[in-house]
Amino acid sequence: MASQRFEIKIPEATLVDLRERLSRARLGETDDSTSWDAGTNPRFLRGLRSHWQTDFDWRLHEANINRFSHFRADIDRHPIHFIHERGKGKHALPLLLTHGYPDSFLRFLKVIPLLTDPAAHGGDAADAFDVVVPSLPGVGFSDAPAKEGAIFHVGGLWHKLMTQELGYARFGAHGGDWGSTVTEHLARSYADAVAGIHLTDVPFWHAFQTPSNLTPAEQKFLAANGEFQQKEGAYAMIQGTRPQTLGQSLNDSPIGLAAWMVEKFRSWSDCHDDLESRFTMDDLLANITLYWATGTISSSFLPYYDFMHAGAMRWMSEKAKEWIGASNVPTAFALFPGDIATPPREWAERFYNVQRWTPMARGGHFAAHEEPDLLAEDLRAFFRPLR
């Protein structure tokens, strides 16, 4: 299962076809409304399309992406794409970074240099990390999983990737969104190999079983979660029940894919209703083009489907017995105010050995992209005593 060097090179025909589809896009009439209340604003979408057609240069982004060292490895007969960047110095701690939906490994590009070479970015050379950034199965350049319930096994794949493939006996891990679920699974199943985990949220499924002794702050947090599900949770419901019904249009229409994805970057980032204050059109389109060119929007829905079907219940019965109570692995939380919901510390302490708790001044769900410096500094500080 030796890993192979990998260079990203989207075929020219794919880009030609993309341009052709964009020029044909049936956008319908738009009024002057600037509201996003009903989903992606149609005028914004028009602007995004014209940027995509005339200003956006995928090859430029591709060249930038290829400045990092990419590999593909067959882990348990599962082809996985990952970036592997060595840290400066002899004592770099290996650190695994896991993305979520609807982002990708691109989420971490800004933060990688800050972690591999802190001295060059105002930090201490002793804080250097070897950084590994895989693509989740079914997203981008990692193949889609062939079996059901794959999201529950990604922690196992990552462990093999880090230990057997890359030869690290002990490493740290960070994640948000699906990345926090995967990172938690990893810590609970392979505690001996994991020096510590650093999360930006408490995975949503912990709220499936409500304890009877909730504090007022926890009650408020869970009520906010419930309200989010009502008002903003439809995407998860359809992705979890009908990924194919939804995915067909998104895989056939680039403008449809953009409309479906871009709304999340606006509502989950700390952009104060100004999306471009956090993501340039180019940032947004690089991520959307990655999903488009790899045709992976439908398979990126599989974690939602797995959770609905293989079900939290089945997974609980398989795994929960190993994991009663809080994990012993040292855990840090960096809470970014613009994220979907910010849990109170006592909620996190029910499930984790919380060693560090950092409420951030700014930033949102896509913290590594929005506030790379804040995140890098928090990662350095947390892992410093765990090296």
């Binding site: 896009a25 319908g28 989903g39 419901m237 359809i238 029940t241 990924p243 019904t245 479906w260 045709g295």
Partner: protein, 396 residues
């Protein structure tokens, strides 16, 4: 009010563009199932797209649709409708209201059964003049900006004006299902002087909000089943009710994607034991999809879901006092409700539990549907509810 004859004529450029898109469909990959477990079967979708390209003949379907007498009326924007005079209808009119994701096409099979029952093993005296509009936001009815306040109530008002001012019916009957059910109920509540009674195939989307403390055991079971069904089968409604503008661009740009989205509903809501073609032919499925595609109305049709979520037209406090006939088809979403549950909001005068059929009853089981509609409204004729009604001459 200006009424004009109407014929469907889709520009050839639209059909050429459609074929180009279908030929270049990027089918999904990466999902490990070819059946219906992940939504619309990728295998079936490929089969349907191939048929669409190679065998489906829109011009032939268009010619068949154009055999129906169609008109438009300008009522704050153009409303498209079929107006089929009945044989010996004596001015009795029936308004048929479709829902989502169907269209006026839902009723094409029952128009002859209801307009000319004498030719279809039924009493010629039961004939109706039939009016089938394309609902505001749908098909060949003009897209007007959706009303921010109670959009379904405002659509009901426009359709009432069509029937009264436009076509000259002082009194008329109304039948509807899916979105057509709340429309019919609102018309009965707002205009009891014009509506003789309403025939429904479901109770409307608002009834789930009833005070749970007042429910009987059977009602609780019915609602619990509905809630379970909502979680597994109603993601489409959750999206359409909250973020329609994030969904619509893809559906309006990808014919295969539009088909996948719509076919999922026809598959889920048919009585075909998982085989959608036991209930509907490919031609039928595609003609309905084409009505959305060529008019680019998928976005405006789903906008109603959000409009009604933000500003509902009906609540469980609303009660229809006019006579209501209910024809309940066993495989419809959520199953057959307890009669007591229906009676909370409706004056139920006829209750028919059908032996088979589902959500798109008029398309799937046209004879069962038409017989029940006739039986219900002829009972009302006997009660002389049509008295003082129409003279048999309408505007068109």
């Amino acid at each position: 009010m200006k009424l004009e004859p109407f014929q469907i004529r889709v520009p050839t450029a639209v059909l050429d563009d459609l074929h180009h898109r279908l030929r270049h469909t990027r089918f999904t990959s990466g999902l490990r199932d070819s059946g219906w477990d992940f939504g619309t079967s990728p295998l079936y979708l490929r089969e349907l797209v191939t048929y669409w390209l190679e065998s489906y003949d829109w011009r032939a379907r268009e010619a068949v649709l154009n055999q129906l007498p169609q008109f438009t009326a300008d009522i704050g924007g153009r409303i498209h409708f079929v107006h089929q005079h009945g044989e010996q209808s004596k001015g009795r009119a029936l308004l048929l209201l479709h829902g989502w994701p169907d269209s006026f096409f839902r009723y094409h099979k029952v128009i002859p059964l209801l307009a000319a029952p004498g030719h279809h093993d039924a009493d010629p005296g039961d004939a109706f003049d039939i009016v089938v509009p394309s609902l505001p936001g749908f098909g060949f009815t003009d897209q007007v900006p959706p009303a921010p306040h109670q959009p379904t109530r405002q659509s009901a008002e426009r359709l009432w004006r069509l029937m009264t001012e436009g076509l000259g019916y002082k009194r008329f009957a109304v039948a509807g299902g899916d979105g057509g059910s709340p429309l019919a109920q609102i018309m009965a509540i707002d205009h009891p002087e014009s509506v003789v009674g309403i025939h429904l195939t479901d109770l409307g989307w608002h009834v789930g909000n009833v005070d749970p403390s007042t429910l009987s055991k059977a009602e609780q079971q019915y609602l619990a089943a509905g809630k379970k069904n909502f979680m597994t089968d109603m993601g489409y409604a959750a999206v359409q009710s909250t973020k329609p503008q994030s969904l619509a661009p893809g559906l309006n740009d990808s014919p295969a994607g539009l088909a996948a989205w719509i076919i999922d509903r026809f598959h889920s809501w048919c009585d075909g034991e998982g085989d959608v073609e036991r209930s509907f032919t490919k031609d039928e499925l595609l003609t309905n999809i084409m009505i959305y595609w060529v008019t680019q109305t998928i976005g405006s049709s789903i906008a109603t879901y959000r409009g009604e979520t933000v500003s509902p037209s009906l609540t469980t406090a609303d009660h229809v006092k006019l006579p209501v006939g209910l024809a309940l088809f066993p495989k419809d979403a959520g199953g057959v409700p307890p009669r007591s549950f229906a009676e909370r909001t409706l004056n139920v005068q006829r209750w028919t539990e059908m032996p088979r059929g589902s959500h798109f009853a008029a398309l799937e089981e046209p004879v069962l549907f038409a017989n029940d509609v006739r039986a219900f409204f002829s009972g009302l004729v006997a009660e002389a509810r049509w008295e003082g009604g129409n003279d048999g001459k309408s505007a068109v």
